[in-house]
């Protein structure tokens, strides 16, 4: 039997929706169900009442908001400055910097804060040097407290802001600014009245992501001893299963994080929905050449920023090769044993990471590219909902997704009689779901660039559907799809928050390994795995950068 073409497309459409409903909507409803029922399964709002009448939780809530706003401010200052320098001005090593300033983004969870503590902790390199050389008596507290969290988040997340602004800036038609200049508007005036409003959408989407990532990060605060924030509370409460009441509170806080993420996305919906890429063909920007002094000033500032940014990398690298490193500025004994232990002795971390992230990448392509195609080329119902869903996934904290999965898929499946949570396939699945938006957005923007008329033209001169697709569509869109998919891969291989609750023995990926080594006190092994992961991601990012330059901001917003 031959299916008519239309029904094949319908089947694909139905399958995609089935996937989205089964693996995103269903598990999320499960945690809401948990949040509003008690152990006996009866409806109650008591958990929320408990939360909002508990001064400790309320303080955690408030402090999380403050931290999120603070991170938006710090990343804005740095992110915008870097973006402007790179887009608008010509100076030595500009291209190198445009790659380097993206690097902090690929700091795996936990690795960044660990690296910082090795260098800036109370017994870190800087304090030891201060004490040894300048007779400082009590170490300076750079890390332990909210300021330490803010430092780590700022360094980690400012590239998100840079990328979002770069993307927006590159699309501002320079003629608008020239026109403003022509009628005598001064530099600042021009910035406030023309440039800023035009870059606002990019900025808002960047800011939203910075806020939510900071809000949802539980590992960084825990390492520097800050527990009165929402995400660490959710994590700590869930991690202790014994006291069912506290456990339930953890789920309630997770549900609350999801609600907040949804609210934030709704509040900024005009800016974070997939943008109209009408001017995606980036305008050619004339870069201003900086004078000799300013030129080196720019290089100097960026160098300074880079030095702060590589602190964590240097820290983990030293910890990965140093044995028994304590109270000396640098390790005294050097060894390869930790790298050996985490790669050759137990290769499972690296193997699992590539297998699962690779499978996630394939899933992202299989689901994400057709989704992008549906959104660009069809008038199928529910297109906007698809867009909203992909945006939402970006905003939902990983821990909430992990918990949702473990609660929702812990029943024996028909026929196989084993729960999904007992099968390793759940890891690539959750990774694919979490990182789907990058592939969708990468594909979406490049599909928009190919005007259907080009395909029609090919068809008119007698090309078959397949040939049109091969000769016209693919050459025009592969870059965007590849960049999006690579981002999905990078973010998958770094994912820890969603997988931490789902991993069983034998499935450990690198971030989980980092986490278990860290909690087993083996910081050097954790650092060695961290270095390996950083290298893998840096190489992937280099490929992205080569293909797409810095134009990947649209993936996030």
């Amino acid at each position: 039997m031959k299916l008519p073409r239309g029904s094949l497309a319908v089947l694909g459409f139905v399958l995609i929706w089935a996937f989205l409903i089964l693996f995103i909507l269903f598990p999320l409803t499960r945690i809401f169900y948990d949040a509003i029922t008690n152990e006996a399964g009866q409806f109650t709002l008591g958990h929320f009442h408990d939360f909002f009448t508990d001064s400790f939780y309320l303080r955690s809530f408030w402090r999380s908001m403050v931290l999120g706003v603070a991170a938006v401010l710090t990343t804005s200052v740095i992110g915008i400055a870097v973006a402007f320098l790179i887009v608008r001005y010509e100076f030595p090593y500009r291209k190198t910097f445009s790659y380097l300033t993206m690097l902090p983004m690929i700091l795996p969870p936990l690795v960044g804060v660990l690296g910082f503590v090795f260098i800036l902790g109370r017994a870190g390199t800087v304090n030891i040097l201060l004490m040894d050389w300048f007779g400082l008596e009590t170490p300076v507290n750079f890390m332990y407290g909210m300021h330490g969290v803010l430092l780590v988040e700022t360094v980690h997340l400012f590239p998100l802001m840079t990328l979002s602004i770069l993307d927006a800036l590159a699309k501002v038609d320079p003629s608008l600014e020239e026109a403003a200049q022509g009628i005598g508007a001064s530099g600042w005036h021009r910035f406030w009245t023309i440039t800023l409003p035009l870059t606002t959408p990019g900025y808002i989407s960047g800011a939203l992501l910075v806020f939510i990532w900071t809000f949802a990060d539980f590992i960084t605060p825990l390492v520097v001893g800050v527990q009165d924030l929402l995400a660490p509370q959710a994590y700590l409460n869930i991690m202790q299963f014994v006291d069912r009441r506290i456990f339930r509170m953890g789920i309630v806080i997770s549900a609350l994080l999801v609600v907040l993420a949804i609210l934030f996305v709704i509040a900024a919906r005009e800016y974070v929905a997939i943008k109209d890429y009408s001017s995606l063909a980036y305008s050619r920007v004339e870069r201003r050449r900086l004078g000799p002094v300013k030129r080196w000033l720019a290089v100097g500032l960026l160098m300074l920023l880079m030095i702060v940014c590589v602190i964590p990398q240097v820290g983990v690298l030293l910890a990965a090769v140093g044995r028994g490193w304590a109270l000396t500025p640098f390790p005294v004994h050097y060894t390869w044993e930790f790298f050996h232990a985490v790669s050759i002795e137990t290769p499972k971390f690296i193997i699992n990471s590539f297998v699962y992230a690779g499978l996630a990448l394939i899933l992202c392509l299989v689901i994400g590219v057709p989704m992008a195609w549906i959104m660009t080329r069809t008038r199928a119902p529910g297109r906007n909902t698809m867009d909203a869903l992909t945006t939402l996934i970006l905003a939902i904290p990983g821990t909430a997704i992990g918990i949702a999965y473990i609660r929702a898929f812990n029943f024996p499946l028909p026929f196989i009689d084993a729960p999904l949570t007992g099968m390793w396939i759940i890891l690539p699945l959750v990774l694919a779901v979490r990182r789907l938006p990058y592939t969708v957005r990468g594909s979406y923007s490049s599909l928009l660039l190919v005007h259907p008329s080009m395909e029609e033209a090919a068809a008119n001169v007698g090309a078959t559907k397949l040939r049109t697709f091969r000769d016209i569509t693919v050459p025009l869109v592969w870059k965007g799809i590849l960049v999006g998919a690579l981002f999905s891969f990078i973010m998958s291989i770094q994912e820890a928050s969603a997988t931490i609750f789902l991993t069983l023995g034998g499935w450990e990926m690198i971030p989980f390994g980092i986490f278990t080594f860290y909690i087993a006190g083996s910081h050097s092994q954790a650092a060695a795995l961290g270095v390996i992961l950083i290298v893998v991601c840096a190489l992937s990012l280099l490929v992205v950068n080569r293909i797409a330059g810095t134009r990947v901001g649209g993936l996030f917003g």
Partner: protein, 372 residues
């Protein structure tokens, strides 16, 4: 004729018994644990057990340990509802094992009686510490005290004498330099909070714990972080640390020191096979191995003590075992000395959540004020 029949039947019975034994002896080729015990103890024992399995049954055994804090491990076992993803639960408080047995989530131990009989039922006075389950669902594996750690160099710089007992952690110059883990997050911390509360009585005990809170510079996310942050010199001293966790940092080359005060609680690190485990024979064989001299020796090199009076921590001069003896204060076996135990586990389990609640109210929420 009848006699011949009898003989035949006997012969047949003994043959089938022998065959049965041979089958029983063959174990599965996979074994997984869920455990709060750190990798540094689980990895070497699992690795040596795999070697042992190769020698004895010529089996290539695939082992893995799922690391999880006691509460998490307990919670996941509950969530599995008798269809566990792992075979063995190792470590934590024996009271939790009793709770699991009550819910029929544990399989009764099926190992030679002699191995279990070598373990005394209890140790310590005035309160006994149970070393095995009278009902036979779990058994202790090693003995290990929850003590305190410190970094001599950091203390010297602060001008604080090296601590000998819990009370020394309240030294005014240690303000902001003590590390501990919340009792709601860590079973070793919870047990040691109870030690203080049962030593001093509730009112004085909480006063003491609040003063410790005032000296605390960090509440770590996990108990294992306490010795690590002290080993690296980030903090000067740490509260409620299992001996072997501290010893691992010593083995890793850090200058960390450990003291088990007289009243320190000693845990038997219980172990049990989960009901419905996929590899029950391998699991039972692993427990039998752990209790054997070979298993106990591997563990003893890691800073824990034998669970039976049959063995003592001993090795060639300069060996790991001797290092461990020196590190843990010269003791070779807890059966050599009079163990003081004031910790009543029934009392502790009976008010587990109440203590956590009070900690949260009086210490965790009030930490900023306490520090002033």
């Amino acid at each position: 004729m009848v006699r011949r029949m009898k003989t035949l039947a006997l012969a047949f019975a003994s043959m089938s018994l022998a065959a049965g034994l041979a089958v029983a002896q063959q174990i599965e080729d996979e074994l997984t644990l869920i455990t709060p015990v750190a990798k540094t103890l689980t990895d070497p024992t699992l690795a040596d057990f795999a070697k042992f399995a190769k020698e004895k049954w010529n089996i290539t055994l695939k082992t893995s340990a799922l690391a999880a804090g006691t509460p998490v491990a307990y919670g996941r076992i509950l969530e599995w509802k008798g269809r566990p993803e792992v075979d063995i639960f190792w470590g934590g408080e024996s009271a939790l094992f009793d709770k699991l047995a009550e819910q029929k989530l544990l399989a009764r131990l099926d190992i030679p009686k002699a191995a279990l009989d070598a373990i005394p039922t209890t140790i310590g006075k005035p309160k006994p510490i149970y070393l095995k389950d009278p009902k036979g669902f779990w058994t202790g594996t090693v003995l290990e005290p929850y003590g305190l750690v410190y970094h001599p160099k950091v203390l010297a710089r602060l001008g604080v004498p090296e601590p000998k007992d819990w009370d020394d952690l309240l030294h005014p110059k240690l303000k902001g330099h003590v590390a501990q883990c919340a009792p709601s997050r860590s079973s070793s911390s919870h047990a040691t909070y109870e030690v203080i509360l049962q030593r001093d009585g509730d009112d004085k005990g909480w006063e003491w714990l609040k003063r410790l809170g005032a000296n605390t510079g960090i509440f770590t996310a996990r108990s294992r972080d306490v010795p690590s942050v002290v080993a690296r010199g980030e903090f000067a001293a740490g509260f409620a640390v299992p001996s072997y966790m501290a010893f691992e940092d010593r083995l890793a080359g850090f200058e960390l020191k450990f003291v088990a005060p007289k009243t320190a609680w000693i845990t038997p690190e219980p172990i049990a096979v989960l009901a419905g485990a996929k590899h029950p024979k391998a699991a039972m064989a692993f427990i039998e191995y752990l209790l054997s001299e070979r298993g106990q020796r591997v563990a003893m090199e890691r800073g824990v003590f034998p669970i039976t009076p049959k063995f003592r921590v001993q090795g060639a001069p300069g060996s790991r075992a001797e290092m461990a003896v020196e590190f843990t204060g010269g003791i070779r076996s807890y059966f050599d000395i009079d163990v003081v135990n004031i910790y009543d586990d029934d009392k502790a389990q009976g008010r587990y959540e109440k203590v956590n609640e009070q900690f949260r109210k009086d210490i965790e929420s009030a930490w900023e004020t306490l520090k002033k």
